[in-house]
C-alpha cells in the first residue's frame, strides 16, 4: 500500500540508506526505551543488595540467584495477592458479561420503551471521569443504599462497579445492531424465548466482540490501583498492585523489584497471547471511550 514515502524513492540508493538508518534507529530506540527498563527490572532483582547499590552498575548480574523471587513470593504474600487479584478480575469479568451483554441485547434487539433514554444515561457516564466520583462511589461501597451493606474488603466492591461500564454496553450494542434481524425473527417464529435467542444465536455470532470486552475488563481490573486501594484496605484482601505498593517501603530493594517482576508477568503474558484482540479493542476504544 502506498504511504507517505513513495516506493520509487525508497528504491534509490539514497532512499535505501535513509530507510535502513531510520529503521535501525527506531528498532534500537524502541528497544532501549521500552524493553531495556524491563530487562533492568528482571536482572535487577537477581542482583544482591550490594550489587544493586554499586556504582557504576553492572549490566549483567554477577549471580543468577533466583532465590530472591522465592523470597519475594513469601515475604510479600504474593500468592495471596495474586489469588485475590485473579478472584477480583475473574468475578468482574463474569459480572461484566452477564450485566452488559444482557443490557446491550435488550437495548439493541428488544427495544423497550425509554430504551434510548437508558442508553443515553449509560453513555453519559462516559463523560464523567471516574476519579472525580471517587469519594461518593467509595461511600456507596461502604454503605450500600437501601440495603446498608458494607462492601469494603469484599469482592463485591470490585465486581459491581466494574459491571457498570457504559463503554462495554455501547460496544456490545453496536455489534448486536449489526446482527441481521431475519436471523432472530426466524428463531422467534420457531418459538424461541429471548433468553434462548441470546444464548444460541446472538452470543455465538458475537464471539469477537465478547472476546474484546472480556480481555479489556480483565486487564482493566487487574491494572486498577486507586479503587482497590480504597475499598480493600485489609492486607489479606489487597490486590497485587496495592499490596506491593503498600508493602514496598519495608522490603529490601531486590525483593521489591522481584515482586514487581512477578506482578507484571500476568498482564504481559495476556498481552503475548491476546495481542490481536487487545489492539482491536484499543482502536475500538479510541473512537468512543
Amino acid at each position: 500500500m502506498r504511504t507517505l514515502v513513495s516506493p520509487q524513492s525508497l528504491r534509490t540508493p539514497r532512499g535505501r540508506i535513509v530507510y535502513w538508518t531510520i529503521l535501525t534507529l527506531t528498532v534500537v530506540g524502541f528497544t532501549g526505551a521500552f524493553v531495556f527498563p524491563l530487562y533492568w527490572m528482571v536482572t535487577g532483582a537477581l542482583k544482591s543488595p550490594d550489587e544493586l547499590a554499586q556504582i557504576p552498575p553492572s549490566f549483567f548480574p554477577k549471580t543468577f540467584d533466583f532465590q530472591v523471587y522465592a523470597d519475594a513470593w513469601e515475604q510479600l504474600q504474593l500468592g495471596v495477592f495474586l489469588k485475590n487479584t485473579a478472584l477480583y478480575a475473574g468475578g468482574a469479568w463474569l459480572f461484566t458479561l452477564a450485566v452488559d451483554v444482557t443490557a446491550a441485547y435488550a437495548l439493541s434487539k428488544l427495544r423497550p420503551v425509554l430504551g434510548k433514554l437508558v442508553l443515553g444515561a449509560m453513555l453519559a457516564t462516559l463523560m464523567i471521569p471516574p476519579m472525580v466520583l471517587l469519594l461518593p462511589t467509595y461511600l456507596v461501597a461502604k454503605d450500600l443504599p437501601i440495603l446498608h451493606l458494607d462492601l469494603l474488603n469484599t469482592p463485591w466492591a470490585i465486581w459491581l462497579p466494574a459491571a457498570a461500564n457504559g463503554f462495554f454496553v455501547f460496544l456490545l450494542k453496536r455489534f448486536f445492531d449489526s446482527i441481521p434481524k431475519e436471523l432472530l425473527e426466524a428463531a422467534e417464529i420457531d418459538g424461541a424465548t429471548p433468553m434462548r435467542i441470546l444464548w444460541s444465536i446472538v452470543l455465538p455470532v458475537s464471539r469477537p466482540i465478547i472476546g474484546v470486552v472480556s480481555i479489556l475488563s480483565v486487564v482493566t481490573v487487574w491494572k486498577d490501583f486507586v479503587w482497590p486501594l480504597l475499598v480493600l484496605p485489609e492486607t489479606s484482601k489487597m490486590s497485587i498492585s496495592v499490596g506491593i505498593a503498600s508493602l514496598s517501603a519495608q522490603m529490601p530493594q531486590n525483593v521489591l523489584i522481584a515482586s514487581l517482576v512477578i506482578a507484571s508477568l500476568p498482564t504481559i503474558l495476556v498481552f503475548f497471547v491476546f495481542q490481536r484482540s487487545i489492539m482491536a479493542g484499543l482502536t475500538a476504544g479510541s473512537l468512543k471511550g
Binding site: 514515502v5 531510520i22 529503521l23 498482564t267 473512537l287
Partner: protein, 316 residues
C-alpha cells in the same frame, strides 16, 4: 433499514374497527410482555449503573455542600467547603500542577506518538516487533511501572543518574527537587501511556488512501508538505479526539504523586485528584474533598462533552 424496522415493530392493522380491538389488545399485551422481558434483561445493568454511576454523581453534589460525619444526618453548609479548600495554600498549587502536568504530558505525550506512528507506518520491517514493544509498558500495571521508575529515579545508584554519569553529566535530584519533581512524574506517565496513542494513530494512518499521497507528490509536494497537507488533515479528527482524551486522562493524575512523591517537595507535585484524596482520607473531610472533586468534574465534563461529540463525528 428504517422502513423494514417500522414494519416489523408495528404489525400492519387491517380490517374493520370491530375486528381490530381484540387484535389491538393482543398487540398491547405483546408490547407489555416485550417491555417486561427487556427490563428484566436490563435490571442488572440498571442496578449497577444506578449504584455506582448515577447516584454517586448526585451524591457528589450533595456532599460538597454538606458537613458530614456519616453518623448524624449531613448538615448543609452552603459554600463553606469550597471556601475551605480554596483558602488552602495547596489549592492553587494543585491546580497549577495539574495544569502543568497536563500541559507537559501533552507536549510529549501528544506529539511524540504521532511522529512515531508516522515513522512506523513507513517501515516495512520489524513491524510486529515495534508495535508489540511500544505497547508493552501500557500492559504493565501502573503501580508496577511507577514503582519501577521510583527505583530508576533513585538519586544514588538509580539508573537515570548512572546514565547521566556515564556521559559525564551531573546527577539530577529527580523526585527530590521542586524543579524536577513534576517533570519526573510526567516522564513516568508518558512512558506508561505512549503506546496507546501510537497504535491509535497508526490505525488512523493506515486508512489514508494512498492516491492522496501520490497526487500530492505529482503536484510537487515534498515530504513535509505531504505530511502537512495530506497526513494531518486526513487524521484531523483522531488528532482532536486524542487531544481531548489526553486532557481528560492526564488531569485525573493521582497514582504518580501518590506513589512517588506524596505531593512534595513543598507541594510541587500535589495535584487536584491527590488533594481530593488527602482531604477525604487523610483529613477526614469528605465535604472538602467532594468540593474539589466537583470542581474537577465541571472542568473535565466540558472536555468530555466535546470529546464525545468529536468522537461521534470521527466514527462516521
Amino acid at each position: 433499514m428504517t422502513v423494514t424496522e417500522e414494519r416489523v415493530r408495528r404489525p400492519p392493522t387491517r380490517g374493520t374497527t370491530d375486528r381490530r380491538s381484540p387484535r389491538k389488545r393482543g398487540a398491547l399485551q405483546r408490547a407489555v410482555g416485550r417491555n417486561l422481558t427487556a427490563y428484566g434483561f436490563l435490571c442488572g445493568a440498571l442496578i449497577c449503573f444506578a449504584l455506582f454511576s448515577w447516584y454517586p454523581m448526585f451524591r457528589e453534589i450533595v456532599l460538597s455542600f454538606q458537613q458530614n460525619n456519616f453518623v448524624d444526618p449531613g448538615r448543609w453548609v452552603g459554600f463553606d467547603n469550597f471556601r475551605t479548600v480554596i483558602a488552602d495554600p495547596a489549592f492553587a498549587a494543585a491546580w497549577l500542577n495539574t495544569a502543568a502536568f497536563s500541559g507537559l504530558a501533552l507536549v510529549i505525550g501528544y506529539a511524540v506518538p504521532f511522529v512515531l506512528a508516522v515513522v512506523l507506518n513507513e517501515l516495512k520491517h520489524a513491524k510486529a516487533y515495534l508495535r508489540f514493544v511500544v505497547y508493552l509498558p501500557v500492559m504493565l500495571p501502573p503501580a508496577v511501572a511507577v514503582l519501577l521508575f521510583k527505583w530508576f529515579y533513585d538519586p544514588g545508584a538509580g539508573l537515570f543518574n548512572q546514565a547521566l554519569d556515564a556521559v559525564h553529566l551531573p546527577p539530577l535530584s529527580w523526585l527530590d527537587s521542586t524543579s524536577t519533581a513534576l517533570v519526573s512524574l510526567v516522564i513516568v506517565s508518558t512512558w506508561m501511556n505512549l503506546g496507546t496513542g501510537t497504535l491509535i494513530y497508526l490505525a488512523a494512518l493506515q486508512s489514508i488512501p494512498g492516491e492522496l499521497y501520490e497526487s500530492a507528490e505529482l503536484d510537487g509536494a515534498g515530504l513535509f508538505k505531504r505530511v502537512r497537507h495530506v497526513t494531518i488533515p486526513q487524521t484531523k479528527l483522531i488528532l482532536l479526539v486524542m487531544l481531548l482524551l489526553q486532557i481528560v486522562a492526564t488531569m485525573q493524575v493521582f497514582i504518580e504523586p501518590y506513589l512517588l512523591t506524596g505531593g512534595g517537595p513543598e507541594n510541587a507535585t500535589v495535584t487536584v485528584a491527590y488533594l481530593m484524596y488527602q482531604y477525604a482520607f487523610n483529613f477526614g473531610d469528605f465535604g472538602g474533598g467532594s468540593a474539589l472533586g466537583l470542581m474537577l468534574m465541571i472542568v473535565l465534563m466540558v472536555f468530555s462533552a466535546i470529546y464525545l461529540r468529536v468522537s461521534r463525528e470521527a466514527e462516521r
